[in-house]
Symmetry: C2
Subunit: 338 residues, 2 copies
């Protein structure tokens, strides 16, 4: 025990004895407490998990996810907690969400029915859900996806648009062109945004088709735009699940010889850096992704501290604000200048 104190709680023994013990340890080749043993004895691992749907690669590729994770990392740094990336693995027998030692976890933008989420729930460790369907008994961080989507769709309606396409993504399908549009996506936020868009479009009595792709990525937007604009003219405005898809849509339209926004208006979602980098710059919904990461990490840190104190878990639902950002990719339907 005194040896343990020498390494882990230096204030519990005299500097002199501590020196002797450390010297002896050095001779014996002992390098300090074993992290696994310490985790077992203390009941704390010093790491928190982030569960990301399928592959981890998008976590680094996608600018929104990267910003979110970066903010988490920044919030965690002063606490000394490490960040463990969990995935729903390829193999059946190895499930990181079940097997990796963590003090708590963030569930980010996962499919609802993911077995990995079930495993985390079963472990009874503090959990914070981000961009997931809010559930009682869990701490959740969200934006009002539906209201934000409704607002940007209404903005297009107000510009006179009546024939819409919606470009969205859902890993589970169905994929392809679907009419009428329906909130069939496997991810909660995609469904909510669809609800919001349809709220505004239906109210205005507008026409809309949707095209659903597996992934929210540039090429999915590009192909969707070409598909829609080739076969389904005259669409005058396209609503996209994300900025990165919107960029694909813009370039897809441009590849067909169409001009944005003169021939077709395009809006995205997130206001990621790409929205400003594009030509034309993108009208979109801004959400503060860094603040979301920070809030999620803070909530989890608090939940872990509470669990350690034995106090009952608080399950708060945070809803972060959004803001519409009007840029160049939207305009009045068939402006006179055309």
């Amino acid at each position: 025990m005194t040896v343990s104190n020498a390494f882990s709680r230096p204030d519990q023994l005299s500097p002199d004895l501590r020196r002797q013990i450390l010297a002896a340890a050095d001779v014996l080749g002992y390098v300090g407490p074993d992290p696994s043993a310490r985790a077992l004895a203390r009941g704390a691992t010093g790491a928190i998990g982030v569960l990301l749907t399928d592959s981890l690669a998008p976590a680094f590729t996608d600018e929104v996810a990267a910003e979110f994770l970066g903010a988490i990392a920044a919030r965690l740094a002063p606490t000394g907690l490490a960040l463990t990336l969990l995935t729903s693995s390829g193999r059946d027998d190895i499930i990181p969400a079940r097997d990796v030692a963590i003090d708590g976890a963030l569930v980010y933008s996962c499919e609802v029915d993911s077995p990995a989420v079930d495993w985390l729930r079963r472990r009874r460790i503090p959990l914070v859900f981000v961009d997931q369907e809010p559930a009682v008994g869990s701490t959740c961080i969200n934006i009002d996806d539906r209201a934000a989507a409704r607002a940007i769709a209404q903005y297009l309606v107000d510009l006179g648009h009546r024939r819409f396409a919606i470009v969205t993504a859902s890993l589970a399908g169905p994929h392809g062109i679907l009419a009428p549009p329906a909130p069939t996506a496997s991810s909660y936020i995609a469904r909510q945004r669809m609800h919001g868009w349809l709220d505004a479009l239906n109210l205005a009595g507008s026409d809309a088709v949707m095209i659903q792709q597996p992934y929210s990525e540039f090429s999915a937007g590009f192909d969707s735009a070409r598909h829609i604009l080739d076969t389904l003219n005259p669409v005058t405005a396209i609503l996209c699940l994300s900025d990165v898809m919107a960029r694909g849509v813009v370039e897809g339209a441009q590849s067909l010889g169409l001009r944005v926004p003169d021939d077709v208006s395009v809006v995205g979602f997130d206001d990621s850096p790409v929205a400003r980098r594009m030509h034309p710059t993108l009208t979109t919904v801004r959400q503060n992704t860094a603040a979301k990461g920070d809030a999620a990490a803070s909530a989890l840190i608090d939940a872990i501290a509470q669990a350690r104190d034995g106090s009952a878990p608080t399950d708060e639902h945070y809803v972060l604000t959004t803001e519409m950002v009007i840029r160049e990719s939207t305009g009045q339907v068939r402006p006179s200048g055309h």
Copy 2:
């Protein structure tokens, strides 16, 4: 023990008994083996660490680092290993590199004297060093930074350039304009690249100044370019530590009314996506960052397997290839068209 087998090695007992045990466990609220206890008993944690110098944020912000980590994640996915991001923390008493349970670690682009690296070494877990000074007894993954830098500097020399500036980064300093250039950077690769540039420049008897910033980032390049080009004309070519700094340099030069490459040529390093996104597109050294991540992860997985088998650790040194990519940011010195 039979209970342990029921959860962890189903083939060791009859399906019938297993069902009974699982049912009993369910009634009792037992959710399966505790990861920490399992890690202690098995001597394996199911996670590998990646040590990144200071804050973790650059890991997500920087496209090169993100691609590297993405490749690691992709390589790890089928093995079921989780990826734990380690940092050299803010607090003295909490050192993730010492306290977090991992089976092995990747050391990526860290300052040599980082105490976190020492901790990892002391733990005697398998380690793979990436972009670090190759040392006997460790597995290392590198490119030939010096040769690549020499080649691109030589390319500029061959275009007739004789007055150079070098824009580089070193967290530890010294910072500011330094002449003559010297490999004083705290990171190994920055020193090697400096060696390479100077190899070519000295051979040609060229003039050069260097400006060293703390971080390799856009603003550092931007400010450096304005500083250099304002005070130290006539520099005709600028060598940069990274593509992202090079973009800053290009925009800094442009902000002064200079044209790239007509008035000044600029080269970068890495061939990250930004090199193609820029105007003009950037002449740079391509390295296959994804391959580097894949190789690093594979080497670590092998090393962990070997350590488990008790076989002696192999310490191989891999050197990945590079390739010069000529784009628009470089040209003959004072071309006739100017």
